[in-house]
Amino acid sequence: MPDPVETSKIQTSEPEPAAPEKLGTQENRKWPVLAEFTPEALAKMEKVLPSKLNRIVQTSLAGCIHCGMCTEACHYTQSIPEDKTLVPAYKADRFRKWYKYRYDWMAKAFPSFVGAKPLSKDLADEMYDKLWGGCTMCRRCTFNCPMGVDYGMMVRAARGIMCEAGRVPQNLQDTVDAHYNHGNNMAVPQDEFIETIEWIEEELQSEEGCEHFTIPLDKKGAQYLLTLNPREPKYYPMTIQSTAKVLNAAGVSFTISSRYWDMTNYAMFNGMDGDAKLFAKWLFDEVDRLGCEYLMSGECGHGYRGIRWEMSNWLGGVPFKITSSMELFADLIQTNRLKLDKSVHDNKIFTYHDSCNIARSGGVLEEPRVVIRAAVNNFVEMPHNREQSYCCGGGGGALAMPEFAKRRIASGKIKADEIKATGANVVLQSCHNCTDMLKEICEHYGIHAKVMNLAELLDPALVLTD
C-alpha cells in the first residue's frame, strides 16, 4: 500500500472563508470491509503478519507462560466472570496460536502440543470477536504480567492485520475513513467548524467578565495550538467554551486551526499505521504553518497519547513541544495564573476516572489531581486509581463498534462499582470516549452522577479578574 503521508497533497495556503478547502486526502477512500473472513482475506493476513512483528509484539506473543496472573486485572474478567473466554491470555491466544503455528520451533513438529493452530476461518472469527470486541487495549493486564506482555501493542498488531485484510468493524472503519477523507473523524466541513467556533466565542463573550475573551482561529505565532475532539464542535460545544474560558482567564496565548484541529486518531484502534501517521502529520503541519511553540491536546484519552507519545515515533521526531490541556491547567494553577473559588462545588462529591491512555499509557497521573484539588473540597479517589485504574470499557475504539455494545456495557460493571463506592455525584474524566461510556454505565447501573471534564469543572470556579 502506498504511504498515505506521501500520496496526500496537503494544502498549505490560508483558508478562504468563501470557499472552504478540501481537507483530508485529495481522493476519497472507502476501505473495503468484509462481512466475513474469505480465503483471500486469510491469505492477506498470512502475508501481513511478519510486518507487524516488532520486538515488543514478538516478545509478547512468544513470552506468555500461561500463568494467569493477568486474569484478575482485566475489566472484562472482573465484570463478566462467568465468561472464561474473556481472560486476557485466552483472548491473546487466539492470535498467539496462529503466531506459534508460523514461528514456534516446537510447533513445526507438534503444533497441538504447544497449542498452535493454522489460521482458519474459525480461528480468525475468534480473533475478531475477542480482539475487537473483547479487549480495549487498556494494558491493565500488562501492568500485572510478570513477563511484561504488552497487550496494547500485541492486540493492535492483530487488529492491523485483520484490518488490512478487510475484517474490521464497519463503524470504526467509517470513522477512520471520515478522518482520511475530510481531515476530521466526523467529517465536519471547514465552514461549519469556523461558524461553530465563532458562535462559541460569542457565547463565551456573553458571559459576565468574559467580554474580551476570544477563541482565535489560525492565529500565527500563538504559543499553544489547541486541538479538539470532533465530538466537541458537534455535540459538546460547552467543553470548548469552558476550555477557552480557562485559557483566556489565565492569559494563555492559544489558537485553533480552522483546517486540521482533530486530535483523535482512530487508526490507533484499527491498527493501520499509515493512516495513524497521516493524521499525525496533518497536525504536525498545522503547528508548522502557525508557528506555535506547543501542540496541545484537549481532553481526549487516545488523542492525547497519539499526540504526546506516538506522533514523534510515527514521524521520526517533532521540532515543537507537546502537552495537553490537563497538564497546562495544572501548571496554570501551580503558577497562580488561575484563581479559583472552590465553594461553588461544595454541594457535590467528586471522583476522577483515569483514562487508560492518559494515565497508564500516557503518564498524566498527578496533574488532574492538582486541578481537582484546587477546584473542589470534596474529592474521593476510586479504589483503583492512576495507573491502576480499571478501563471504563469504552477504550480501544469500543464505542465505535456497536456490534459489541452489550458486552461493552457489561464490561463497565467493575467501574460502575468503583464509582458507587466513592459515593460521588460527579465523575470527572478527561476523555470523550470515557465521557460517553461513563454516562452509559451510570445510567445502566443506576448511578446518579454527572459526568464532566476538567475544563467544565474549572469553568464555574474561575474567579475572573481584570
Binding site: 512483528l53 516488532n54 520486538r55 515488543i56 514478538q58 516478545t59 509478547s60 512468544a62 513470552g63 507462560i65 500461561h66 494467569g68 496472573m69 493477568c70 486474569t71 484478575e72 486485572a73 474478567t77 472464561k84 473466554t85 481472560v87 491470555a89 485466552y90 491466544d93 520451533w105 516446537m106 497441538s112 502440543f113 504447544v114 497449542g115 500488562t142 501492568f143 500485572n144 504480567c145 510478570p146 513477563m147 511484561g148 506482555v149 504488552d150 504526546r308 507519545w309 506516538e310 506522533m311 514523534s312 515515533n313 521520526g316 521526531g317 517533532v318 513541544k321 507537546i322 494515565a359 497508564r360 499509557s361 500516557g362 503518564g363 497521573l365 495507573e387 491502576q388
Partner: protein, 223 residues
C-alpha cells in the same frame, strides 16, 4: 564431598552435559538473534521519566511483590514463585557443582538444596492441580504447559532423592543417573519449550520498563 564415579557416569556428567549445554546456548543465541533483528520500541517523544531507570525498575520487579496488584493480592503465589525459581537455580547449580566442585556440596549445602527441591516438588504438584481445576487456567493451558510443569515436578522429586543419597555419601546411584539423564534432556528440550521463557523474560521486562519508565509512569517515587 567426593564425586568418585564410574567412567560412564563421568561421561554423562561432563562431556555429554557440555555438548547439550552448547546446543542449548546455540538455540538461545538464534532465538535472541531473531528477536534483536526486529525493530525495538522507539521513543522519540520528549521523555517524562527515565527509560533506563524504568528498565532497571522493571527488571527488579521480581523482588517487589508489592509492585504488581497480581502479586500484592496473592502473596502466596509470589512466595511459591520465589521458592520454585530459587529451587530451579539451585538445581541447575548442583548439576555443575556435583561433577566440577563436589567439595562445595557439603551436607549443609546439599540439605538446603534438598529442602528447596522438596518444596518446589510440592509447589509443582499444586500448580498441576491448579492448572487442572481452575477453569480460567485450564482454558489457557496447552499440553506443553502441563508437560513442562510435570517434568519440573518429577525432576525436583528425582533431585530430592538424589541429593539425599549424595548426603549419604553415594555419588553413583540409579537416581544420580536418572537426574543427569533428565538434565541432558532438559538442555536439549528446553529451548523448544515454554520453559525457555527466562530467555525472553529480560527482553519483556526491559522493554516494558523502557516504555512506561520513559513516560513517567514507573518508578515515580524515586523521581
Amino acid at each position: 564431598m567426593e564425586n568418585k564415579v564410574s567412567y560412564a557416569l563421568y561421561v554423562l556428567q561432563e562431556p555429554v552435559q557440555y555438548i547439550a549445554l552448547t546446543f542449548m546456548a546455540l538455540m538461545y543465541a538464534i532465538k535472541i538473534y531473531q528477536l534483536m533483528k526486529k525493530p525495538g520500541p522507539p521513543e522519540k517523544a520528549e521523555l517524562k521519566g527515565d527509560r533506563y531507570a524504568g528498565a532497571l525498575h522493571s527488571l527488579a520487579n521480581v523482588l517487589r511483590p508489592w509492585g504488581m496488584e497480581s502479586t500484592r493480592s496473592h502473596p502466596y503465589f509470589y512466595v511459591e514463585f520465589l521458592i520454585f525459581h530459587i529451587a530451579v537455580a539451585l538445581t541447575i547449580g548442583s548439576t555443575f557443582f556435583i561433577p566440577l566442585t563436589p567439595w562445595l556440596m557439603t551436607p549443609l549445602v546439599s540439605k538446603v538444596i534438598m529442602v528447596f527441591m522438596g518444596l518446589a516438588f510440592l509447589i509443582g504438584l499444586r500448580r498441576i492441580y491448579r492448572r487442572i481445576t481452575v477453569p480460567e487456567i485450564r482454558i489457557i493451558s496447552s499440553p506443553d504447559d502441563f508437560f513442562a510443569i510435570t517434568l519440573m515436578t518429577v525432576f525436583f522429586a528425582v533431585g530430592f532423592v538424589t541429593m539425599w543419597l549424595w548426603i549419604q555419601g553415594k555419588p553413583e546411584t540409579g537416581w544420580m543417573w536418572l537426574f543427569f539423564l533428565m538434565v541432558t534432556f532438559f538442555l536439549i528440550y528446553v529451548p523448544f519449550s515454554k520453559i525457555s521463557h527466562y530467555v525472553l523474560y529480560p527482553f519483556g521486562r526491559v522493554m516494558y520498563g523502557q516504555v512506561f519508565g520513559g513516560r513517567g509512569i514507573l518508578n515515580r517515587n524515586a523521581r
